[in-house]
């Protein structure tokens, strides 16, 4: 008996956003990344083809992290010593772009230097995130934005406390912003309205709805992303932005990933579990509509990429 598969007819679609600029576009990138364009919920190819699959970014830091899991430190080894070698290693590990996360200790000069080092070491597009304190973020990101004018960097963290400064510098220097809101659909939409009201073209906005790791509030993050995406498909232009999620940041601070001793034997091998936690978090959020996933472990990148390939051809 023939079965007719029901199809949703959506009126809206997610905006297409391109990160990174090649020489022809005024930058120095040899590759760019394009996300968005979906006209249905994730991977429902029978409703609408998926124009751009989710993109995997690897997180690197401007200076060697002091609070990262030994599993990550061992895996990256010597590469972690400076952002340029780390970027090269991350590209070799399959990154499609980088998120360079600056720290509270960085001066604007050091931040700029780190950005230049990464841009010099690889032709992949780059996101630069401040440490997450509004004032410090402003100080570092304005310097970075000016130094990398025209590169179409993704600048974060752009939130309600500091969006004016970050958006102004993105506007002046040809960059994009990553608009972060605290796991709340109303606030996510509000921030998008405020940013576009400042005159930043909508195709230069990525939204970061904030999420939790598997077992640590991921269901809230999932619901928020799903709701935002459904709203985008229903035609609400202020939710039609691709979404970025900081998977590695969330997953590697869970007990399951962080603690190797004094846990039940049934939890199994520590390294395996930690990586699985990052992958489980990533795969869940991909189904919620994530477009850019920021990961930390090369093995996670490899396996999530394989899963995306399968989802794209399924």
């Amino acid at each position: 008996m023939p079965i007719e598969i029901p199809k949703e007819k959506w009126t809206g679609k997610v905006r297409v956003v391109t990160l990174g600029a090649t020489a022809a576009e005024g930058g120095t990138r040899t590759r760019v990344v394009t996300v968005g364009g979906q006209a249905c919920m994730p991977f429902l190819h029978f409703e609408h083809p998926t124009p751009h699959p989710p993109v995997l970014a690897i997180e690197i830091k401007s200076r060697p992290p002091t609070d990262w899991s030994p599993i990550l430190m061992e895996t990256w080894g010597e590469a972690i010593r400076n952002p340029a070698t780390w970027a090269a290693a991350a590209e070799a590990a399959g990154a499609e772009m980088f998120v360079l996360w600056l720290t509270l200790e960085d001066t604007p000069e050091e931040a700029t230097q780190a950005v230049r080092a990464v841009l010099g070491a690889s032709g992949l597009p780059l996101a630069v995130f401040g440490p997450g304190q509004a004032e410090k973020d402003n100080e570092l990101l304005v310097a970075v934005a000016e130094a990398a004018k025209g590169e179409r960097l993704l600048l974060g963290i752009c939130e309600d406390k500091n969006y004016r400064t970050i958006v102004a510098t993105a506007l002046a220097n040809g960059h994009l912003v990553s608009a972060r809101s605290p796991m709340d659909v109303n606030l996510a939409k509000q921030l998008n309205i405020l940013i576009t009201d400042m005159g930043l073209p909508a195709d230069r906005i990525i939204m970061d709805p904030t999420t939790g790791a598997l077992g640590y509030g991921i269901e809230y993050g999932y619901s928020v992303m799903e709701r935002l995406r459904l709203s985008a498909l229903q035609g609400d232009s202020m939710t039609q932005f691709p979404m970025l999620v900081t998977v590695g940041f969330e997953a590697w601070k869970t007990k399951e990933a962080k603690v190797g001793e004094g846990v039940p034997a049934s939890w199994g091998d520590w390294q395996q579990r930690a990586i699985d936690w990052e992958i489980g978090t990533a795969m869940t959020l991909i189904e919620a509509g994530a477009d850019i996933l920021v990961l930390r472990h090369p093995e996670s990148v490899k396996r999530v990429k394989a899963a995306i390939t399968e989802l794209m051809t399924a």
Partner: protein, 307 residues
């Protein structure tokens, strides 16, 4: 529309100050002006006053009864304070605001209302909070509150059910469900129970300048499902105009037509449609956008009118 005037509320700085000074004139004036503006009853929300309720509640009752004849609505969580007020009331049949379906409150407050012959507002909220779905809220009324009242032989004509309005800013999914709860409650019992809501709750946490519009549009929707009583601000002239338009089916101006159309659509179980509005008129466009957030069609944002 039976408006219970909401303006004597401890959340207001002026009320707080007047209470601290035992400024009876302030409260008398505020009560008189609310009645003159059309309030049919006066809500008194001064908080629980755990320490001085025995002095404060009789004092305010006496002050207000010296200038108005309308029912006083005793709005507090403190049961002793309710009784202190009830003992002092000599004029109109008072209203107790409120009980819920939580066992402890449901045990005490209806008995108190019965003893003093007061009307009583019952919130459709159980021990586990406020359910989202309309039928779950109706079930609290029909499955818990009403059976309990029948057991104690409570006069049903004194029951007012409040299915609880929540804000569109953060609890958006509750907004359309509340409309359906009001609709269903009208069929829940014979004769239908009185239903009242706290209208301005729908715009809690919304920037002040946007609140009246959200309140008005929601009011039109609720009038469509038969709302006849609410705790609201009687001084809101535009709100009172909407009430008059819908009650008298006045469609003599474009705005009056739009509000009537909203009530009519909701009454029919339909949604307002773009063709009901002249989108070139900024005022009507704003009303249309407001219907969309209240029906949870479009995600609310503080700047929803600008986008």
């Amino acid at each position: 529309m039976y408006i219970i005037g909401e303006n004597i509320h401890i959340i207001s700085e002026k009320v707080k100050e007047a209470l601290a000074n035992r400024d009876a004139e302030f409260f008398m004036d505020l009560a008189v002006r609310q009645v003159e503006a059309g309030a049919k009853a006066i809500d008194i929300n001064l908080g629980p006053r755990k320490k001085d309720y025995a002095e404060v509640f009789p004092w305010i009752v006496q002050a207000l009864e010296s200038v108005v004849d309308v029912p006083l609505c005793i709005d507090t969580t403190n049961v002793e304070a309710m009784e202190a007020a009830l003992q002092k009331i000599t004029k109109a049949q008072p209203i107790l605001n409120s009980t819920s379906a939580e066992p402890e409150r449901l045990e005490k407050i209806p008995l108190l209302a019965k003893k003093y012959g007061a009307k009583m507002i019952a919130l459709t909220m159980g021990s586990s909070g406020i359910p989202v779905e309309a039928d779950a809220r109706v079930e609290i009324a029909v499955g818990t509150i009403i059976p309990h009242l029948m057991e104690i032989d409570f006069p049903m004509e004194n029951l007012i059910i409040d299915p609880l309005v929540l804000t569109t800013s953060g609890c958006q999914q509750y907004c359309p469900q509340l409309i359906e709860a009001v609709r269903m409650l009208k069929y829940a019992w014979d004769p239908p129970p009185m239903v009242s809501v706290g209208l301005s709750n729908v715009s809690n946490a919304v920037p002040t300048e946007n609140r009246p519009l959200i309140n008005r549009v929601y009011l039109a929707m609720l009038m469509g499902v038969g709302l006849e009583m609410m705790i609201a601000n009687p001084f809101d002239q535009k709100q009172n105009e909407v009430i008059r338009w819908i009650e008298s089916r006045d469609t003599s101006t474009p705005l009056a037509r739009v509000y009537n159309k909203i009530a009519e659509r909701i009454q029919e179980g339909e949604e307002p449609q773009p063709e009901d509005f002249d989108m070139n008129d900024p005022e009507q466009l704003a009303i249309w956008k407001t219907t969309q957030i209240l029906l949870n069609k479009v995600i609310y944002a503080d700047a929803y009118l600008t986008n």
